[in-house]
C-alpha cells in the first residue's frame, strides 16, 4: 500500500514541472493565439541561466534567489522577443507565429551551445532538500514534496491573479474575445506583452526548477515542448485548471502505467490526448473555440487558374528543370530529387492547409507510412520497384483514412494536435516494433531497380511524379471538389447551408493529402534506400509546415517555392556549417518579419499593389459607406 501512495506522490511531483511549463503555454495561447513553439526553448534557457546563477551565488538564498532571478531574466528576454519580433506578426495568417517561434527555437538551440558549451551541466541540489523522507519504508525525495506543494500554490496564485486583479479580468476577457477587449480601449500591446512575459516566466521557472533533478542539456527544449502541448490540449486551451488536471492525469497514468506496461511511456500522452479529443473535442476544461474573426484587409485575392502566358512560363521552367542532368553531377541530381520529393510532400500538406484550412501537425505520418509501405513491399514481398511505388502509398492512404476520420471532427488547433497525436502513435509503432519495422535501425536496402538507379533517371522519375502530383492537386483545387473544400474552410455555416457535407469533404481531402504525401514517402524510401522512424517524426512534420508557411499558405503554389527554398537552404547549411540551426532560424525569422504572407504571398501582394493602387482607394470609400 505504501508503495502505491509513494508512486502516486511521485506522479504528482512529475506533474508539477509539467504543469508550470504548460500553464505558461496555455496563458500565452489563450490570449495571443500564438502557438508558441519557442516555449521549450525558454524552458531550456531557464535551466541554463539558473545553472549559471546557482553556481555563482552561494548558500540557500543564493540558490533560490538564483532560480527566481533566472526565471525573471528569461522573462525579460521573452519580453524583448515579443516586442521586437512577435508584435510585428500578430496580424499575420494564423500559425505564422508558429513559424517565427520555430525559427527562434532553432536559434536559441545553437546560441545555448555557443554560450554554455556542448556538455550537459549538472547543477546543485536544492539546499535543505537533498534527502528523502521515509514513508513506511519507502523513500520520498524531499524535493518531490516541495514540488508537490509548489504547484498548487502556483495554481492558486495564478487563480488569484486572474480572478482578483483588473489585469486578470482583462486577460480573461481577451481569452474570450480579444477584439472586444481591443474595442474597449485597452492597450492590447501591453496586455499581450505582459501575458507573454508571465508565460515565459513560468516556462523558465519550470526549467530552473529542473536543476536539482536533472542536468541542463541541449535536448530539454524539444523533449518538453511536445508533452507540454499535449497537456495544454488535454486540459483545454487557455484553461489553467485544465493544464493542472491534465498534468496530474498524464503523470499519474504514466507512474502507474509503467508498472503494468513498462514500455507505455513513449506513447502514453498521445494516447490520452487522442482519447480525450475524440470524446471531448475541446479538451477537459476547454470551451469551443470562438470562430476566428477575419481581419479586414487580409482577405485573399481569389485564386484563378494559370493564364496562357503563365502556362508557357511554367513549361519553360519545367524544361529547364528537366534539362538539369545535362549539366548537373550526381550530387546535384540527388539533391534535386530530394527537393522534388519534398515539393510533393509540401504540396500535399499545402492542399490540406490552404484549400481545406486544416493545418496538420502530423503530416509526416502519411509520408512515412508511404515509405514504410514501399519498404515492406520491397523487402518482405520482394516486389519490383514500380509495383512498390504504386501500392506503397496506399499505406499512407489507409492511415489517412483511419486517422482523418477522427481528425476532421475537430478544427483549428485541436485538429492540429489530434493529427500530431496520431503521427506520434505511428512513430512509436515504427520506433518500438523492432521485429517488423527494425525499430530505430530502420529497414535497409530499399534501393531502386536498375533502370532508375542512375542519378539522372531517378531525378527524372522524381520530377515527373512531382509534376503529376502537383498538377493533380492543382486541378483538384479548381475542381468542384476543391471549391467545396474551400467553401468548408471559408464558411462552415454557409457550406452546410448549401448542402455540403463538410466532414465528408474534409475527410476526402485528408485522404487525398495523405495519399499524395505517401507518394512522396515512397519515392523518398527509394532515394535513400532505407526507411527510418524519423521519416514519421515530429521534426519532419514541422519541416513540412515550415515549407508551406514559408512559401505562403494563402497562395496556390506557395508550397513549391517554400519546399525548394527550405530544403535547398537546409541541405546547403548542414553541409557547410555546424551552426546550421542558427542560420536557418535567423533566415526563417527574417522571412517572417519581412514577408508576413510567405515568399509567394509577398510577390503576389507586390504585384497586386502595383496594379491596383487606384482601385484600393475606391474600395476604402466603399468600406466606409458600409459602416
Amino acid at each position: 500500500m505504501a508503495f502505491y501512495v509513494v508512486q502516486f506522490l511521485t506522479g504528482l511531483a512529475s506533474a508539477a514541472s509539467l504543469f508550470l511549463v504548460a500553464s505558461g503555454l496555455s496563458i500565452i495561447f489563450g490570449v495571443t493565439r500564438i502557438v508558441n513553439f519557442a516555449h521549450g526553448a525558454f524552458y531550456m534557457l531557464g535551466a541554463f541561466v539558473a545553472y549559471t546563477l546557482t553556481e555563482r551565488l552561494s548558500g540557500a538564498l543564493g540558490f533560490w534567489g538564483g532560480i527566481l532571478l533566472a526565471s525573471l531574466a528569461v522573462a525579460v528576454f521573452g519580453v524583448l522577443i515579443e516586442m521586437i519580433l512577435l508584435r510585428r506578426i500578430y496580424r499575420s495568417p494564423e500559425l505564422f507565429q508558429l513559424l517565427a517561434t520555430f525559427g527562434l527555437t532553432l536559434m536559441i538551440e545553437d546560441l545555448v551551445i555557443l554560450i554554455w558549451g556542448p556538455d550537459d551541466l549538472l547543477g546543485r541540489r536544492a539546499p535543505g532538500l537533498r534527502g528523502a523522507v521515509d514513508f513506511f519504508g519507502q523513500q520520498v525525495p524531499s524535493y518531490d514534496l516541495f514540488l508537490i506543494v509548489l504547484s498548487p500554490i502556483v495554481l492558486g496564485i495564478l487563480w488569484l491573479l486572474f480572478r482578483r486583479t483588473r489585469w486578470g479580468v482583462l486577460v480573461r476577457a481577451a481569452t474570450q474575445d480579444r477584439d472586444m477587449v481591443a474595442a474597449l480601449g485597452v492597450n492590447q500591446k501591453w496586455l499581450f506583452t505582459s501575458v507573454f512575459a508571465l508565460g515565459v516566466f513560468l516556462a523558465a521557472f519550470g526549467g530552473a526548477l529542473r536543476i536539482p533533478r536533472d542536468a541542463a542539456n541541449h535536448a530539454m527544449d524539444l523533449s518538453v515542448i511536445v508533452d507540454v502541448f499535449v497537456v495544454v490540449v488535454i486540459g483545454g486551451l487557455g484553461s489553467i485548471i485544465g493544464a493542472f488536471v491534465a498534468a496530474v492525469l498524464v503523470s499519474e497514468l504514466n507512474a502507474f502505467g509503467i508498472l503494468i506496461f513498462p514500455k507505455i511511456s513513449i506513447i502514453l500522452v498521445f494516447l490520452v490526448m487522442a482519447v480525450v479529443l475524440i470524446v471531448r473535442p475541446w479538451g477537459l476544461f476547454g470551451k469551443p473555440e470562438a470562430p476566428a474573426r477575419k481581419t479586414p484587409g487580409l482577405t485573399v485575392q481569389p485564386w484563378r487558374p494559370l493564364s496562357a502566358n503563365e502556362r508557357v512560363a511554367m513549361i519553360g521552367v519545367l524544361i529547364v528543370a528537366a534539362a538539369l542532368p545535362l549539366f548537373g553531377g550526381t550530387y546535384v541530381l540527388t539533391v534535386a530529387s530530394e527537393i522534388a520529393i519534398f515539393v510533393i510532400f509540401a504540396a500535399s500538406l499545402h492542399f490540406l492547409m490552404s484549400v481545406g484550412g486544416l493545418a496538420s501537425f502530423g503530416h509526416a505520418a502519411y509520408f512515412g507510412l508511404g515509405a514504410y509501405g514501399v519498404a515492406f513491399l520491397a523487402k518482405m514481398a520482394g516486389l519490383p520497384m514500380i509495383v512498390c511505388l504504386l501500392i506503397g502509398p496506399l499505406l499512407g492512404l489507409l492511415g489517412a483514412a483511419v486517422f482523418g476520420f477522427f481528425a476532421v471532427q475537430l478544427s483549428g488547433v485541436y485538429f492540429a494536435m489530434l493529427t500530431l497525436a496520431f503521427a506520434q502513435i505511428v512513430w512509436s509503432i515504427a520506433f518500438q516494433w523492432v521485429s517488423v519495422t527494425g525499430g530505430d535501425n530502420g529497414i535497409l536496402g530499399v534501393w531502386p531497380a536498375a533502370w532508375a538507379s542512375g542519378a539522372a533517371a531517378f531525378y527524372w522519375l522524381s520530377l515527373g511524379v512531382a509534376v503529376l502530383v502537383v498538377a493533380a492537386l492543382r486541378a483538384m483545387t479548381f475542381s468542384p471538389f476543391g471549391y467545396a473544400l474551400r467553401a468548408t474552410r471559408d464558411s462552415a455555416l454557409r457550406s452546410e447551408a448549401i448542402g455540403i457535407d463538410n466532414k465528408r469533404i474534409q475527410w476526402t481531402a485528408f485522404v487525398i493529402a495523405g495519399t499524395a504525401a505517401g507518394i512522396g514517402g515512397a519515392l523518398f524510401a527509394f532515394l535513400k534506400g532505407s526507411v527510418f522512424p524519423d521519416n514519421v517524426g515530429i521534426s519532419l512534420s514541422v519541416d513540412a509546415l515550415v515549407m508551406v508557411l514559408l512559401g505562403g499558405v494563402e497562395t496556390i503554389s506557395g508550397a513549391i517555392v517554400g519546399a525548394i527554398v527550405y530544403k535547398a537552404l537546409n541541405i546547403w547549411l548542414v553541409s557547410h556549417t555546424d551552426l546550421s540551426k542558427l542560420v536557418l532560424g535567423a533566415v526563417i525569422v527574417l522571412i517572417v518579419v519581412a514577408m508576413p504572407k510567405g515568399i509567394v504571398g509577398m510577390i503576389e501582394t507586390l504585384q497586386a499593389r502595383r496594379g491596383r493602387s487606384t482601385k484600393s482607394a475606391m474600395l476604402a470609400s466603399r468600406v466606409e459607406s458600409a459602416e
Binding site: W303, F481, A487, S491, I498, I500
Partner: protein, 263 residues
C-alpha cells in the same frame, strides 16, 4: 392564398438552454408564395426559432414539417436538399472566391457534383450563376472578390446563393440588418418580387418595422419564446399585447434609424 400548397408546418416547437426557455410551444404554417415575418424584441427567441427550422439547432420538442415531410432534427444540408434557401443575420459567404464562384459552389452542390475532382469549377454552371446574379442585380460584380464587397452587396449575394437550388422556401434571418435604409427597401422589394414571381414562400425576421409592414403578408410576434400574436399587419398593429411590448420604443409605427442589433 388558401389554394396555395402549405410549405411549412411548425407544431409546438420548443427549446431551452439550461432551464431557460428560448422558444416555447411555437406553432404556425406557411404557404407557397406567402411572405411571413417573424418579429419580436431582442432575446425573444427569433434566431433560435429560425435555426431550428433549417436544422442548425436541434429542437427540444415539437415538429417541423417541410413540404409534407417531417424534418425535425435533420441537418441543414438535408433541409437544403428539400428546397429551402437560407440567408444569415451576419452574412455567411465565401470571402476567398469571386462573387460568381460563390454562386457556382451552390450550383455545383445543387447539381450533386461536389466530389467531381477533375472538371474546372469556374467553367461549371457559369450561365446559371450569371442569371442568378442578374436577378439580384449583381451582374456587374461577377468577377469581384467577394471579400471586397460592401455589406449590402453581400446581402444580395447571399440571396443569389439562397436561390441557387430553386428553393420553394426562403428562410431569411434579418435580411436587411446592417444595411443603409435605402438599400433595405430595395432588397426587400427585390425579394418580394422574386418570391411572388416564383411562388416561393418566405419567412423572415426583421427589426425594421417599415420593411415588415410593407412586405409581410402575415406577421408572427414572438415574446420571451412564445407566440403572442399572429395575423395580417393591420391586426398585429392593433394588438394591445404587441403594443405593450413595443411601447416606448415606438417601433411599431416609425422605425427609421434603428440599425439591426443582434437578436
Amino acid at each position: 392564398m388558401s389554394a396555395a400548397p402549405v410549405l411549412l408546418v411548425v407544431e409546438g416547437l420548443t427549446k431551452s438552454y439550461g432551464g431557460v426557455h428560448a422558444v416555447r410551444d411555437v406553432s404556425f404554417s406557411l404557404s407557397a408564395g406567402e411572405i411571413l415575418a417573424l418579429i419580436g424584441p431582442n432575446g425573444a427567441g427569433k434566431s433560435t426559432c429560425f435555426n431550428m427550422l433549417n436544422g442548425q439547432v436541434t429542437p427540444g420538442g415539437g415538429r417541423v414539417r417541410l413540404l409534407g415531410r417531417d424534418t425535425t432534427g435533420e441537418k441543414p444540408r438535408a433541409v437544403w436538399r428539400l428546397g429551402v434557401g437560407r440567408t444569415f443575420q451576419i452574412t455567411a459567404t465565401f470571402p476567398t472566391m469571386t462573387v460568381r464562384e460563390n454562386v457556382q459552389v451552390a450550383l455545383v452542390s445543387h447539381h450533386s457534383r461536389l466530389f467531381d475532382m477533375w472538371s474546372s469549377a469556374p467553367k461549371l454552371a457559369r450561365d446559371e450563376a450569371e442569371r442568378l446574379l442578374d436577378l439580384v442585380g449583381m451582374n456587374g460584380y461577377a468577377d469581384r472578390p467577394c471579400g471586397e464587397l460592401a455589406y449590402g452587396d453581400l446581402k444580395r449575394l447571399e440571396l443569389a446563393i439562397a436561390l441557387a437550388n430553386q428553393p420553394k422556401l426562403l428562410l431569411m434571418d434579418e435580411p436587411t440588418a446592417g444595411m443603409a435604409p435605402r438599400e433595405r427597401v430595395e432588397l426587400m422589394r427585390l425579394t418580394a418580387r422574386i418570391a411572388r414571381e416564383q411562388s416561393i414562400g418566405v419567412l423572415f425576421t426583421e427589426h425594421d418595422m417599415d420593411v415588415v409592414f410593407e412586405h409581410a403578408d402575415r406577421i408572427l410576434v414572438l415574446n420571451r419564446g412564445s407566440l403572442i400574436a399572429e395575423g395580417v399587419p393591420e391586426e398585429v398593429r392593433r394588438d394591445p399585447q404587441v403594443r405593450a411590448i413595443y411601447l416606448g420604443e415606438g417601433l411599431v409605427y416609425d422605425a427609421r434609424h434603428r440599425d439591426g442589433a443582434p437578436a
